[in-house]
Each structure stands twice: as structure tokens, then as C-alpha cells.
């Protein structure tokens, strides 16, 4: 008795300033809601990406909790709530990791122990996913990473970590195959330059692409790592101009991709093939800012809205309605991860972590059951989605058309880059 009351006392005294606003509600709703924690960079330098992801997850909550007959292909589309849990609703608790791995870890701990979430998704930056998922692993809470592509995340032997997105080496392979295909059509693509921003994302993706190109017999003419915050990128573009590679692959964030396109235009430089590696090129701000100077640019993306009425088209329309802008690839991948998790919880028929984990392991979704252009979702022993894949799209007007792989293409690739 004494210990209990002392604990209570201590909690009352010390928990007060830190009590999360949801804490009061958490016991009451245990029966008919499923709580999922979502950790994203909602402020800080990556705030733009984090907020777009937050909106996408909110669309995901709408898809799961409400009946959407037009999304019949998705496992939880036509039904309201999770049918196997008696129609339980999903509730998402968001946390801001500020781009800081230590904060991400605190967030994960808080969501698991205070908000009692049943599973976690996140965290955009691979560094934050790394530290947050380590906490989830310790507590035995399933963690689904929808966007973080650093290869080492699934090399840690974790049992509670699942990743739906393709990773660096998949991208390298995609570019290699694509360029090899172009070469067969007689396009001169033998020498390639990689221009990558110099943080986690850019340098690890740059390495993976370089390795992928090598495997496909393409030569790396030049590699330019640079600082994404640079006020001026003329020197980089002039280096490219002098080396004159056939293909340039940009691994860039939003502001710097915009800068590159502007600077290339100013300095009158037009390489025959321009490829953007997702991130910056996929940001709706990119097409808005420099779409008219980037006609014919190729971009990696797993998401393509496709034809009117298709699953991805409907999801894109929902997102547009909520935010006024189109769903970008990163947010789409995050949303897909979230939906895969919800499907697993539903199949588990329980909020018990071990059952969710087993259901995630048993996940087997085909390409039509997801809202993104993967070949499906099926996790390998390390938790990596073995069916993850990517598309290459080309900018025409203000739309991106799928040009690779052949099986999913909606248009033929048109070269050279028009600028």
C-alpha cells in the first residue's frame, strides 16, 4: 500500500509538467481504438517533408477509418475501421523529432510508454529511424519504416523492424537497367556523372547509384558531392559542363534541385539525359518553380497517380483535397507503410505486439492491393520488403509520365533533355 501511494505521489508531483495531453484519454479508449505513433520531422530543416508526410498519414487514417467504396482494391479501403477488431478505429499520435536522432529516441520512448501506442511508423531521416527503431526493438513494438532508405537499417538483425520502401541498391539497379536499355536503343549514355548533396541521404544514395552503374557496365565520369545549402551552384555546373557527361544524376533536396535547374539554364548547359533522384525533383515546389526549365527531366518515383479512377488516382485526389497539392513520392511511400501496418493489425485481429509482428511477417500484398507502384509487399527475414521497386518518370508539362519499367510505362521516353 505504502509503495503504491508513494509512487502515485511521485507521479503526481513529477509527471505534471510532462504529462502528455493524450495521457488522460489513454485508458478509456483501450477497447475500441488502435493507437499508432508517427514520428516525423515536423519542424526544423526537413519540416516541409515531415509536414507533407503528416498530411499523408492523416489521409491514411481517413482511408482506414471510413468506408471508401472507390478504394475497393485496398485491404481496408471499402470498410470502416478494422473489421477484425470489431470495426475499431485507428488513431495516430504524431511526434516531432526535429531532425535530431536523440529527440527521435525520446519520442519513441514517450509514445511507447506514455501514449501506449501499439505500433510505430517513421521517421523520414534514416538517422532518426535508426535510433527510434532501436527503442521499439527493446520494447517489442512493431516499427514500420515507409521512407528511410539507408541500407544499414535492415542489417541490424532486428525482429520488430519492417521496411516497405526500396533502398539505395534498388535505385542503383533501376538506373543501371534504364540506362542500359537506352544504350540498346542507340542513345549515347556510357558516361554518367553523379551530383549528390553531402548529407546522409545524398552520399549514401550516391554510393549505391555508383555501385549500380558499375554493375551495368556504365562508367562514372565524375562525382560531385556538394553542400545543399550553398547559395550558388555555378561552380558545380561549370565542372559538369567541362566534363561533358552523357547523363547527369542529381541526388538533391528541394532548394538545391531548383537552384541546379536555374543555374544550368543560366549557364546554357544541357546534358542529353538529366535524372533526378526523387526527393527534390518530387517536391511539388520543384515543378512549380522550375517546371518550364526542366522539361524532359527524368525522376525516380514509386508513386504515379495513373489513370482516373485508379486506386492511386483516388488517393492522390484525397490528398489534393486535404492539402491543395499533389501527393509526392516520399509522402506516398510513408502513407503506403502506414496502410501496410494497419492491414497487418487488422489481420492480427489484436493489438498485441507479438500478433502484429507475426501478421507483418505474413504480409503478402500484390501490386494491385497497394496505392503505390511497388510489385507488392512481402517482408524478407531481415524485415525488408522484397517486392519494393521503383519507377522512372519523365516531366512533360506539369505532369510526370511513367517511362520505365516497360511493363508499367504509360509513355515513351523522349530524349534529349529539353530544358
Amino acid at each position: 500500500m505504502l509503495t503504491v501511494s508513494r509512487r502515485r505521489l511521485g507521479q503526481m508531483a513529477l509527471a505534471l509538467p510532462l504529462a502528455s495531453p493524450a495521457a488522460g484519454a489513454r485508458r478509456a479508449n483501450a477497447a475500441n481504438t488502435v493507437r499508432i505513433g508517427a514520428i516525423y520531422p515536423l519542424s526544423g530543416n526537413a519540416g516541409s517533408a515531415g509536414q507533407a508526410l503528416q498530411k499523408a498519414i492523416e489521409v491514411g487514417v481517413d482511408i482506414v477509418n471510413n468506408a471508401h467504396p472507390d478504394l475497393a482494391a485496398l485491404p481496408l479501403g471499402p470498410t470502416a475501421g478494422l473489421p477484425n477488431l470489431g470495426g475499431a478505429k485507428v488513431q495516430v499520435v504524431f511526434a516531432d523529432q526535429q531532425g535530431n536522432p536523440s529527440v527521435a529516441q525520446s519520442d519513441a520512448l514517450r509514445l511507447i510508454t506514455q501514449d501506449r501506442v501499439n505500433a510505430l511508423v517513421g521517421c523520414y531521416q534514416s538517422s532518426c529511424t535508426l535510433t527510434a527503431s532501436a527503442v521499439a526493438e527493446r520494447y517489442g513494438i512493431p516499427f514500420v519504416a515507409g521512407e528511410s532508405s539507408a541500407p544499414n537499417l535492415t542489417e541490424r538483425g532486428f525482429k520488430w523492424f519492417f521496411r516497405t520502401t526500396p533502398i539505395g541498391s534498388d535505385f542503383g539497379k533501376a538506373y543501371g537497367e534504364f540506362l542500359q536499355g537506352l544504350a540498346k536503343q542507340g542513345q549515347q549514355v556510357r558516361s554518367v556523372a553523379i551530383v549528390n548533396e553531402n548529407t546522409d541521404y545524398g552520399s549514401s544514395t550516391g554510393d549505391a547509384i555508383a555501385a549500380g552503374l558499375k554493375q551495368h557496365g556504365l562508367s562514372l565520369a565524375l562525382r560531385i558531392p556538394y553542400n545543399a545549402n550553398s547559395t550558388d551552384l555555378s561552380a558545380e555546373v561549370l565542372q559538369l559542363k567541362q566534363a561533358g557527361p552523357d547523363t547527369v544524376i542529381f541526388v538533391s533536396y528541394t532548394s538545391d534541385s531548383i537552384q541546379y535547374v536555374k543555374t544550368m539554364h543560366t549557364l546554357g548547359y544541357k546534358p542529353p539525359v538529366v535524372i533526378g533522384d526523387d526527393s527534390g525533383f518530387s517536391d511539388p515546389a520543384f515543378v512549380k518553380a522550375v517546371g518550364d526549365l526542366a522539361q524532359g527531366a527524368i525522376n525516380r518515383s514509386s508513386f504515379d497517380p495513373g489513370n482516373k479512377g485508379s486506386t492511386s488516382w483516388v488517393v492522390n485526389e484525397m490528398y489534393k483535397k486535404a492539402t491543395g497539392r499533389a501527393l509526392d513520392d516520399t509522402s506516398a511511400r510513408g502513407l503506403n507503410g502506414f496502410l501496410v501496418l494497419c492491414d497487418a493489425i487488422n489481420r492480427a485481429g489484436s493489438t498485441e505486439p507479438a500478433k502484429i509482428q507475426a501478421a507483418l511477417r505474413a504480409t503478402n500484398l500484390n501490386a494491385d492491393q497497394i496505392m503505390i507502384g511497388y510489385n507488392g509487399v512481402k517482408f524478407g527475414p531481415n524485415g525488408q520488403n522484397e517486392l519494393a521497386s521503383t519507377l522512372l518518370v519523365q516531366l512533360r508539362g506539369t505532369d510526370w509520365d511513367v517511362v520505365w519499367p516497360q511493363a508499367k510505362a504509360t509513355a515513351k521516353v523522349e530524349l534529349p533533355f529539353k530544358g
Binding site: G47, S48, A235, A289
Partner: protein, 285 residues
């Protein structure tokens, strides 16, 4: 033709550095306060330019004066509300207060304008001037010319006008200035206002060719510190020269050594200069 183009690009970049450092120099030189919120002042001016475009469809002819006016007022308010109280306190309190201000401005912008990147249409001040094979974007050229004019104007104001002499007198010795009948507060408030106003001009012009987001100031402020330090304590022409120098060095080192090292080269050079000349290039001890 590549190398001359690299140098020209470096000079244009340097002009931008000089432009957004000019206001910081004035404030720093006048009252020995480092404004950690300087980058966020630039950011606010960029948003003023952006809203001028979205709201009024007005270009720099409208946004530059408006940003100058807006930031002037902000500078005066910040002086009376914050700086006046910490100016003669410990240096730590100054760092703390302007850093707090920086966070406050940055995250208020976050809250008010959202985290999304925005840009002005690239053809607002469009076109590329081709001069004997060298390609110069008009917007950056304009920024460079304004940087020159602003520096010249500020220098003349400080050295040739009564107002400038009074401001310098207050900066030199507050007590002595009071003895000869100069009231220090209006002078220093004016210095803050003018410093912030020139920051406003800089921001509105940089917005023409750079992206705009709440955190943009963070990436600009460090280089501004280096420019001002290198130029020498409160030396207005020093900051111009330092800015141009750093621009060219960054451009050349990016071209020769690789873009990742361009900032490293600048910082290393800066430390070397301070070691040899602790007062900066044009400053006096």
C-alpha cells in the same frame, strides 16, 4: 572560357554575401552586438518579397522599399524592446537574447507560413546577359550593383554626414557623446533600424533567385559572420571586400577542390587570417 566564368560567378556570389552582411556590419560596428537573428531578418524580408508577389503581383520595385521599411521598423522595435536592455550587460546575455530572438522569429514564421519551400517566378527579373561569352543572370547582377551602392551609401553616410559622425561618436564612447550633447538612444536605434533596413533590401533581392523557407536564414547567417569578421570590426568597405573575396574563393575551391570543401576552405582561411591579423582585414584594434 570556363575559368573566367567561375570567377565571374564567384564575384556575383560574393556580392550577395556582401549584400546580406552589410546590415550586420553596421549593427556590430556601432554597438559591438552580434545579431544571431540576422539570418532570420533576411528570411522575413524574403517573405515580404514573396507576399508582395502573391498579394500585389509586384516585383522588386515594390518589394525592396517595402522590405526596407518593414525591417527598419523591426530593427527599431528590437532595439528598444531587447537590445537596449542587454547592450551593456555581459556578452553572454547579448548572445542569448539575439539567439532567443532568432528562434522566436524562425519558428513563428514556421507557424505562420508553414515549412513549405516557396520561390518567386524565375522570370520576375529574368534573362541572362551574355557578355563576351560570359553569362550573367540579371537578378544576380542587380543584387551585385545594389550591394555596391548600399556599401557606398553606408560608407558615405558614416564618414561624410553629421548623422554618421554622431553615430560613430556614440559607438566610440557613449559617455563622451552624451557630454557633447548627442543623445545615444536615438542614434543607436537608428543604427539598428538602418542595419535592419539594409538587411531587408538584401533579403528582397536574394528572394529573386533563391528559395524561401523559414529556415533559410540559418544557412546564411554563418557566412555573414565570417564576412563581417574577416572584413574587420564594423568596417563597411571591409565587409564588401571580404564578401567578394569569399565568393571568389568558394567558387574557385568548389571548381578545383570539390564543392564539399568550399566552406571548409573559407573557414580555414578565416582562422588563418585571424591568427595573423586578429582585427580582420580592414579593422583596427
Amino acid at each position: 572560357m570556363i575559368l573566367p566564368q567561375v570567377i565571374v560567378s564567384g564575384l556575383l556570389l560574393g556580392a550577395v554575401y556582401a549584400l546580406f552582411s552589410s546590415g550586420l556590419t553596421l549593427i556590430w560596428g556601432m554597438m559591438n552586438v552580434v545579431n544571431f537573428a540576422h539570418g532570420d531578418f533576411v528570411m522575413l524580408a524574403m517573405y515580404i518579397a514573396f507576399f508582395c508577389w502573391t498579394g500585389l503581383h509586384a516585383g522588386p520595385a515594390m518589394s525592396v522599399p517595402l522590405a526596407a521599411l518593414g525591417l527598419f521598423l523591426l530593427g527599431v522595435v528590437v532595439y528598444f524592446g531587447l537590445i537596449k536592455g542587454v547592450m551593456r550587460g555581459p556578452m553572454l546575455a547579448q548572445i542569448l537574447s539575439t539567439f532567443g530572438l532568432a528562434l522566436l522569429i524562425r519558428y513563428s514564421a514556421f507557424w505562420a507560413f508553414s515549412a513549405n519551400f516557396v520561390t518567386l517566378p524565375s522570370d520576375l527579373v529574368g534573362g541572362t546577359i551574355v557578355l563576351g561569352g560570359l553569362r550573367i543572370p540579371a537578378s544576380r547582377l542587380m543584387a551585385g550593383v545594389v550591394a555596391l551602392l548600399l556599401t557606398l551609401g553606408m560608407h558615405l553616410m558614416l564618414t561624410r554626414t553629421m548623422l554618421g559622425s554622431r553615430m560613430l561618436a556614440v559607438a566610440e564612447d557613449r559617455q563622451a557623446a552624451m557630454l557633447v550633447g548627442i543623445r545615444p538612444d536615438p542614434m543607436q536605434a537608428l543604427a539598428w533600424g538602418l542595419g535592419a533596413a539594409s538587411t531587408g533590401i538584401a533579403g528582397a533581392l536574394i528572394a529573386l533567385f533563391y528559395y524561401i523557407s523559414p529556415t533559410v536564414g540559418e544557412s546564411l547567417v554563418l557566412i555573414a559572420f565570417v564576412v563581417v569578421c574577416l572584413g574587420g570590426f564594423g568596417s563597411v568597405p571591409g565587409a564588401l571586400i571580404a564578401g567578394l573575396l569569399i565568393g571568389v574563393i568558394e567558387s574557385l575551391s568548389a571548381y578545383w577542390a570539390g564543392a564539399v570543401y568550399q566552406d571548409a576552405v573559407v573557414y580555414a582561411l578565416f582562422l588563418a587570417v585571424l591568427w595573423i591579423r586578429p582585427q580582420g582585414l580592414m579593422g583596427s584594434l
